[in-house]
Symmetry: C2
Subunit: 184 residues, 2 copies
């Protein structure tokens, strides 16, 4: 297990934060280096290019989604399996890092469209979606399955300025998501 505060990890942390707040393109390596207290050149020891920082960020999340997809595929295609996938997906998003990575993707779609990391993330999400949707279902049912996942994400920004606690928000999101996925 590597030290969580070695330089490489801290570059990832700082970069992710800035990419979310200011956007990928507006965040320069100089700025990342400054926050870290090193020079630009030091970054290049850890990452060959700026894009590689993104690639490294996405690795864990892709692997996590891949594992969830594999599990779903190994289960019988029942309503209960779909419900379980939603529960696990929501559970994973409690983790700050996973949550941040998804936010990064949401907010920088156009900026990273051409990058390899984006293609891989897209493919992985499509695969996961395919485990909880049935091509033979009505379009409305297919859309609802996708919205179930959106519901989990949406809870993160829909409830701004509300006095509900994060736990209540998550619970509401999960309730709605399970309702959308159907099969109760």
């Amino acid at each position: 297990m590597s030290d969580r505060h070695d330089t490489r990890s801290r570059i990832q942390e700082i970069a992710l934060e800035l990419f979310i707040e200011q956007g990928y393109d507006k965040t320069s390596l100089r700025e990342i280096a400054e926050r870290l207290g090193v020079t630009k050149a030091a970054l290049y020891y850890h990452f060959p290019t700026k894009d590689d920082i993104v690639n490294s960020l996405v690795e864990d999340r892709i692997a996590q989604l891949h594992a969830l997809t594999e599990w779903a595929s190994s289960q019988p295609r029942t309503a209960e399996t779909r419900r379980q996938v939603i529960r696990m997906y929501a559970e994973e998003l409690h983790d700050t890092k996973a949550h941040q990575v998804m936010q990064f993707f949401e907010r920088n779609q156009a900026a990273i469209k051409q990058m390899d990391a984006m293609k891989r993330m897209r493919n992985q999400l499509t695969e996961l979606f395919d485990t909880i949707t049935d091509p033979n279902d009505a379009l409305t049912e297919q859309l609802k399955s996708s919205l179930a996942v959106f519901a989990i994400h949406a809870s993160l920004f829909v409830f701004r300025n509300r006095d509900a606690t994060p736990e209540q928000q998550r619970e509401a999101a999960l309730t709605v998501a399970l309702e959308l996925i159907g099969g109760d």
Copy 2:
């Protein structure tokens, strides 16, 4: 009524397209000018800064959302009003330009976060949301109201690679949205 193909309008068209495909920051004024067949300097006659292109793009859409919000506010706060707002919102998104502008916002959230256009769009969307949600409702109901709007947007990318026609997709999205807004 101004000529739809004067230079100013064409700058807006080309810029919007490129901003969606490559991202706001990765699209240079040189590139826009080249596609248009003029020089960079010519653009500065029509728009003082790059940001102003975005501002101009957003004007129409903000006004449209503002009008919808005003209408909603003038109606009784009933379920039928909410349903009608969703229908009108969906109807507006059939228009290519409105659709493109929303796509631009979705894909460039981080890139334009600090810009005035983003703040105004956010505020306007919040105001509209407030007309179809009730703070006294359960969190789940509030979330569903928001998801109703998402459903309209989602239909644009959820149904990739399906053999449903755009009309069928729109119809399915509207059905789901109306279901989510409730009050039937």
